[in-house]
Structure formats: structure tokens, C-alpha cells
Symmetry: C2
Subunit: 292 residues, 2 copies
């Protein structure tokens, strides 16, 4: 990751926290929603958005509000997914989950806040035309909604403890995690007015990245220690969840990860020569490295 990218990611966090600081009604909501943003995470989706804008020759900072919104949506989904009625997780990113600190009511409302306020941020993004803002809002709602992340999370909940086929597993992940990884690339293409062919190839790359992301997550759930992942190791197995590791074995999952990494890199190499894919290759390497 180059230094500019690091600065964009810091700007994204500052943008979100500044917006949450505009909350003047409830201290609890401000503190609880900020807690999960400050808890860190890889900022992978904002990074992907900024890297795509850089590849397209557009000023990455034009995507700052969209990146903030997507990170807020991602964070809200983690808060709600961690609730006792959902995945019932006590730790996230090495820290107690939102409801463990603030209680379930505040956690539900902090999640609702991040979701609602993400649309506030994009709607007031004065660096973009109203038409582009509408396109971005439409994509966010679509990818985060019932035909995207929420639909996938429901399928995942319903599959727990059941025998499902591998294609059902892939179907779940395509929605649960895949759509929100395609989203930053779509937003970048809207912001930069990317031609349809370029958008199509970048989205295909993002779709591969979505699968990589899940394989890596499943591997880390087995291999990772809490210092690296921030989660308790082995939680998938304890919950009897079907994963890439339970299907392919650990070595098989690593082989699949390596093969997909090559395919994704190949997609980047077939983009037009005008496109500087250096940072997109860096994004990809975040997933290819075994011990990360």
C-alpha cells in the first residue's frame, strides 16, 4: 500500500468519526457507533475503492464519502451479526463486540445509526453531481439490501448446523460478503465515468476478490491466532459451519486461494494499458499472503 492510500484510509476514518460526532441527541449512540469504527479492521473496502479510482486516473479523494459510507455499512453489519440472536460473538477485531460493551439495545441502535447515516454522508457529498450521488446510493442500497448482504446473512443463519452443498455455500458467500466487495469497485466506476468494458472487467476482478476474501477468512479461522485476526480461532468449527476449509481441507483451501489469486491477477493484466493497476495488485496481495 502506498503512502497516499494510507492517508486516504485515515481520511476515511476521520470523515466517519467527524460525522458521528455531529450527533447531539444521544451520547450513548455516538460513543457506541464510534467504538466499532475505531476498533479498526483492514478498511479493505475503502482501500479497494481508492485503488480502483487511482487505476482509473481519478482523484481518489473524490471517493472519500462513498468509501466512508461503505465502511459504515460494513461495520453496522458486523455489529448486528455479532448479536446474541445472530452469530453470538464476544470478540471482534480483538476487542469485545459492541453489545458486550454497550448492551444489546445500544448495539442494535448503533448498527441502525451507521446504516442510516451512511446514506446521509453520500447524499451530502458535494464533490459529486446529484446524478452520481443517486447512482451510488442506489448501488449501496442494492448491494447491502435483500438481494445482497442482508439476503446472504439470512441464508447463512438458516444454513447453520445443516448439511448444505458446496454450491449452496458459494451462493451464500456471493451475497453475504461478495456483494459488499463488488460495491466499492462499482462506486469507483460511477465516480470516474469508467467505460462499460472497463467496469465489467473491474467488477469481474472484484467478484474473484470476494471469493478470495471468504477462503482467506475460513483459513484464518482455523490457522489464525487472536492477535492477528481479533477473533477466537476455531469459531466456525464450534458452530458446525460449513466452510472452504471443511470442504477442501486446509491444504486444499490454500491451493484454491493460490489459483484464484493467479486468476484475479490475470484479470488485472488484461485491462487496458491506460490503467495503472499497481495498487489493485497490492490489494490482491493482501489476500494472497499466507501468514497475514
Amino acid at each position: 500500500m502506498n503512502r497516499d492510500m494510507q492517508a486516504y484510509l485515515e481520511a476515511t476514518e476521520s470523515r466517519i468519526l467527524a460525522h458521528l460526532g455531529e450527533n447531539h441527541v444521544s451520547d450513548t449512540i455516538r460513543v457506541a457507533s464510534s467504538y466499532s469504527i475505531k476498533a479498526g479492521g483492514k478498511r479493505f473496502r475503502p482501500y479497494l475503492l481508492f485503488a480502483t479510482l487511482e487505476a482509473l486516473g481519478e482523484d481518489p479523494m473524490k471517493g472519500a464519502d462513498a468509501a466512508a459510507a461503505i465502511e459504515m455499512i460494513h461495520t453496522y453489519s458486523l455489529i448486528h451479526d455479532d448479536l446474541p440472536a445472530m452469530d453470538d460473538d464476544d470478540y471482534r477485531r480483538g476487542k469485545p463486540t459492541n453489545h458486550k460493551v454497550f448492551g444489546e439495545a445500544a448495539a442494535i441502535l448503533a448498527g441502525d445509526t451507521l446504516l442510516t447515516e451512511s446514506f446521509s454522508i453520500v447524499s451530502s457529498d458535494e464533490s459529486l453531481s446529484a446524478d452520481k450521488r443517486i447512482s451510488i446510493i442506489s448501488r449501496i442500497a442494492s448491494k447491502a439490501g435483500f438481494n445482497g448482504m442482508i439476503g446472504g446473512q439470512m441464508l447463512d443463519m438458516e444454513a447453520e448446523g445443516k448439511e448444505i452443498s458446496f454450491s449452496q455455500l458459494e451462493h451464500i458467500h456471493q451475497y453475504k460478503t461478495g456483494q459488499l466487495i463488488v460495491l466499492p469497485v462499482e462506486c469507483a466506476c460511477i465516480i470516474a465515468d469508467a467505460p462499460p468494458e472497463t467496469s465489467g472487467r473491474l467488477i469481474a476482478f472484484a467478484e474473484k476478490l470476494g471469493i478470495l476474501f471468504q477462503i482467506r477468512d475460513d483459513i484464518l479461522d482455523v490457522e489464525g491466532d487472536m492477535a492477528v485476526t481479533g477473533k477466537e480461532a476455531g469459531s466456525d468449527e464450534r458452530k458446525n459451519k460449513m466452510t472452504y476449509v471443511s470442504t477442501y481441507g486446509l491444504e486444499g483451501a490454500h491451493r484454491e486461494l493460490a489459483a484464484l489469486t493467479d486468476e484475479a491477477a490475470g484479470l488485472l493484466d488484461h485491462l487496458s494499458e491506460n490503467i495503472n493497476t499497481e495498487e489493485l495488485h497490492n490489494v490482491l496481495q493482501m489476500f494472497a499472503v499466507r501468514d497475514q
Copy 2:
């Protein structure tokens, strides 16, 4: 309510259910989110939006998508507020609450769906310019977010079982319920390009309506039977909640309701002569009638 208004409200419900029917990922999400929409309710916010548009001489159907979005936001808030971790209610509108039927996980996700998809509906509203859609999305996010409904719900949760002053009670209601009653009027003013003075007066009317709404709700919690209110009577008292009735007594609350109704009617009478406030008076009467 005139027949046209009835038709607009039916169109609103159809619009929402048609959109929820576009869900092709999770049957559970589609059924659970539609359940709470179909459970009925007064459709008070859409009615207020349509009545305001009619008063402003604009085609009320231009507000159909905004009305659908606001009703979805309202419904999501009820689903989340009814959860065991929040108000823990078993009945709503005479039917078992969402989580009693579908379980907590599905109820959380059905709420998240209605919230997310409300923005999808407004962003794709082709009867309005991109600028107006952005203004409406901005107002919805603002009134439903941390400085609106969510902030108020958090304050309400935190006040439960505590001694609070009457001005604190009013402060809570201003956010928890008031903002989402001002919202349809704001949206109608945006759609109809209402001049600032007119908007200001209509918003002042809506603010009174928000207080009326809460007083009436508190009265019905004591007087109403489940056949009318769809909720179990006396739930506020059981939860040791401070209400208008616990503060003023039942007769006092009725007196307050009558006085505010007169004030709100007076605000309508001071609008310009070009404005036909007949339906807005009808909206107001929904709250003034004792036995409703």
C-alpha cells in the same frame, strides 16, 4: 379521508409489497419484512404526505415513493423497538410482533431490510429529478438517524424506570416520534417546491401533530382495548414509563390534546388562501377524536 387518499394509501402498500417481492435471495426475509407491512397500521405518515401535496396543489402520486420509503422506515423502527432487547413487546397492531413469528435474527434482518430498501425506492423514483431525490434522501436519513428517531429511541430506552422531568419527556418524544412526523411534510414541500414561508408553517403544523400523536398514544395505552390499538393496554404503566397521562392524569392529557388540536387547526387556518387544507384538517381530526 377522501376516496383519493384511500387509493393513495393502498397504492403505497402495493408499492412496498411489490418492491419486497423483488427479493430473490431469501424467502424468509421477503415474508418477514412483508408481514410487518401487511400488519397494517394507520399509514398516518403517508397520509400526511399525500394530504400536504394535495394542499400544495401537487399531484399526490408524485409522493408515492417517498411515502412508501417513510412507511418502511416507520415499520423497521417498530420491528426493532419490539425486540426483547428493546421494548420486548409481543403484540403490535393486534398481531404477534415480528420476532415472535420469525425469530429474533430474522426480525433484526427484516428491519435492516426495510431501512436499506427505503433508500432504494427513493433513489429509483423516476417521477422526481435527481436533485429532489437527493434532498428527500438527505431528509429521510436526517430525521431517521442519530439526530432524529434513533437518537430518541436511545434516550427513551435509557429513561425507562428513571425519574425524568417533563421537559426531558418532551425532548425524547420530539426525537423518537416527532421527527418522523415532520418528515412527510418536509418531503411534500420538496416535491411541490413549496415557498419557504409555506414550508415553515406546514412544518410547524407537523411539529404540533407530533406532540398530539404522542399524547393520543399515551391516552390509548390506558384507555384503549387491544381490538382498537392492537397493543396490550397498560404496557407503559407496567414498564414504569413516564407518559403524558402519568404526568397530567387522564383528564389533563385529554385537555392538553384538545388545546393542541385547536392550536394546530389555527396554524392551518393561517396558511395562504391558495392552499386547500381540507385533507390536512382531516389528518388532524384523526387525532382529536376521543374514541378512535
